[in-house]
Symmetry: C2
């Protein structure tokens, strides 16, 4: 066992791509993750909105990598990195030595310092989050069937989604779809179509990473689904009864018991650990500034990739999306092998194949090279791209069938939640 | 709204059948359940063993009953029944008045007064239970990959299933199948085939509700899967490190961190509430002795059905299985309508269409009329019967696909568990 030891922290899109790229290399790879599954995060909102079952968008990491004899997968929570000793520290005290380290521990949502908001406004990053939101959303409609006071029922049936990024837009669009198409006819004491869905965005447009005309298209598509889009609207307080917002016209209180957080993103705490140990720079969101070859200054044996890394390519910041993370994973793995062979590492160059965001049935926007479009075509393209990139043949089939059934029946099959989760309400 | 009010507590097989049987009747039906879904309990062990996703075996109650305009579904925890006032009491203080009440709140598992065992030996009755067991089972194998001490790993890889009834047999058989067929090749530090699965049964045979030769066949089939079946073995203690048993040969301690409880059953606490209020008799498991027409003595307006009821038919006790509960639901609903029409209620007559129990791949037993058989034919029969009786077209397709994929690949697609559940370990 004198082969070089490569340790990869995190089996998201970046870490998994790095591990796969090392498949046939004469190295020992250890993949550490705190869950047992790789999560196809772009479809997480579908689990949160009862459209898909969790196993359809998650694959056991060790199953994905089972044919890589040089790779060991360990379920472990990483607590730190001893850069001098070249060891990863695990929460239970164990140490995992490395010759090369690839850190791909990603990002989570941020409440901009207002962590007390988390209780009332759950965010969406993990399957736990998705289950929690699914329970809340479904329990809300159940609760409304028990209410008799019209004002209380109206507040109960008002959903506020905070943040006009991809998660916020997907959640708001899907909630509106559920209220209009899935639930009508199932309740006896109210009409589900009376549900209000508000999308609050602090800036002047939704999906601000896209060109202005696509943002405008997305806003119109949201409104055609019944979503009330409120731009230039900043949240100043959240409690169990509602949300306070400040707009150019003044401040306002919105009564609701259903807030979903899709706003801030902050990097995994390992960013700070690495910065303190190596002197690397962090940006405002806690992401690590890496060298062009994805390694850290003075530490060529440590690479940081995916949502945890800040890097430019062709003069533009590389976006925090799955294709970029995968490409970084492949590049970091190649650079590790190059260094082991005594060759120079290459600079990361981001290949932009375009990007897409979905809004709801027949509604999406897409930008591919110079082509920009919205609506039906973008939606079909989004749909097939997401099925194509899902891991596992069975998952692709399952998602295709569920979506076909949803398309025709407007039903969502994962509309179950547990008794215990209800009690957490 | 002067129509008679029928309240049904519980939307399991019995309650749902009763509600459906009232579809076109000139009555107002209210269905109360503490979860939002009807659960296809015979396949619950498949969720617990990562073979199926939860939404495949659960359907939202209000979706199932959406076309019954006379039926309202309420998510509510029932805390009691005010028999004199004819009102069902809900946990949150609300009262639901009834003219006729059908109680179908079922049963849960019992630790025979040793509730402290629950922590170490989870039982399997609800989706919460299934998720908890799935997490435990999957986390066990993950944990074994981190262990270095051989004795500790052997104990970690020893599963003890308590109770040789249908649940215990299904769990033991499936765990053995997972260890032998699903996981080999995915771990680097141990061979999953070294996993031991012990099935402990206090009596002299497994599946004691079946004829002796079928029990014997089941035992042989379990052993052919690698399960160690220990008969006449009573559990006397359970703690975090293992199980103590007493056998005719003396007492013994079995080291294990993985105990699954499939032994006792006790009736829902509503049985006791009804007994105290009406003078009805309870059996040892807390089930309510009902009259031949399923109503309570002196209370023709209250029927008890399903696992909560004790009744004989053709001189034999009616078994606590889904077909019996469904038949009771239909009978209770018919009797309610008969009484409303001033006609006599009819006595419940159980129609025995046979019964089946599954053990593992190609392994099962079945008894249909005078025919008794085990093995391949019984297994295929079990499989198609369970797909046929599943609710919802989509669920049937999903389960068929998952099972076909499992059949060919030996894989189980729902092998995911959440970070939070891992920490509960």
């Amino acid at each position: 066992m004198t082969r070089p030891r490569i340790v990869i922290i995190g089996a998201g899109f970046g870490g998994l791509a790095a591990a796969k790229a090392l498949k046939n290399a004469p190295v020992d790879v250890t993949v550490l993750d705190r869950t047992n599954h790789h999560l196809f995060q772009p479809l997480l909102y579908q689990v949160a909105t009862a459209g898909l079952a969790a196993p359809s968008i998650a694959a056991p990491i060790r199953h994905v990598l089972r044919k890589q004899a040089n790779t060991t997968v360990l379920l472990a929570e990483v607590s730190g990195v001893d850069v001098a000793a070249r060891e990863v520290l695990l929460e239970d005290g164990e140490r995992v030595p490395y010759d090369h380290l690839i850190v791909a521990s990603g990002a989570t949502h941020s409440y901009f310092g207002r962590d007390d908001w988390a209780e009332h406004a759950p965010g969406l990053k993990t399957l736990d989050d998705a289950y929690a939101i699914r329970s809340r959303v479904l329990a809300t409609f159940e609760h409304a069937e028990r209410l008799t006071d019209p004002a209380a029922r109206a507040a109960c049936l008002r959903f506020v989604v905070i943040g006009g990024g991809p998660t916020g837009v997907e959640m708001a669009g899907t909630l509106a779809e559920i209220a209009r198409h899935t639930l009508p006819g199932e309740f006896r004491r109210f009409d589900a179509r009376a549900t209000e869905v508000l999308l609050l965005e602090g800036g002047p447009r939704v999906l601000a990473a896209y060109p202005e005309d696509l943002s405008e298209s997305a806003r119109r598509q949201l409104e055609s689904l019944g979503v009330q889009v409120r731009l230039n609207t900043r949240v100043t307080a959240i409690d169990a009864q509602g949300v306070e917002v400040s707009t150019p016209a003044g401040s306002e209180r919105i009564a609701t018991g259903n807030v979903i957080w899709g706003a801030g993103v902050k990097a995994s705490p390992l960013g700070k650990v690495l910065a303190e140990a190596t002197g690397a720079t962090l940006d405002r969101a806690g992401r690590v500034q890496v060298l062009p070859d994805l390694s850290l200054p003075l530490h060529p044996e440590i690479s940081v990739i995916g949502d945890l890394a800040v890097i430019e390519s062709s003069g533009k910041p590389v976006p925090g999306i799955a294709p970029a993370a995968k490409q970084m994973g492949v590049c970091a793995a190649a650079n590790v092998l190059a260094r082991l062979a005594g060759q120079p590492a290459r600079a990361f160059a981001y290949q932009d194949y375009g990007s897409m965001a979905t809004i709801g049935r027949h509604r999406a926007i897409a930008q591919i090279g110079r082509f920009k479009f919205g609506g039906l075509l973008a939606w079909w393209l989004w749909l097939f791209a997401h099925i194509f990139f899902l891991i596992g043949f069975r998952n692709r089939i399952a998602v295709m069938i569920d979506w076909a059934a949803q398309y025709w029946t407007m039903q969502r099959h994962a509309r179950i939640f547990l008794a215990d989760e209800k009690k957490r309400q």
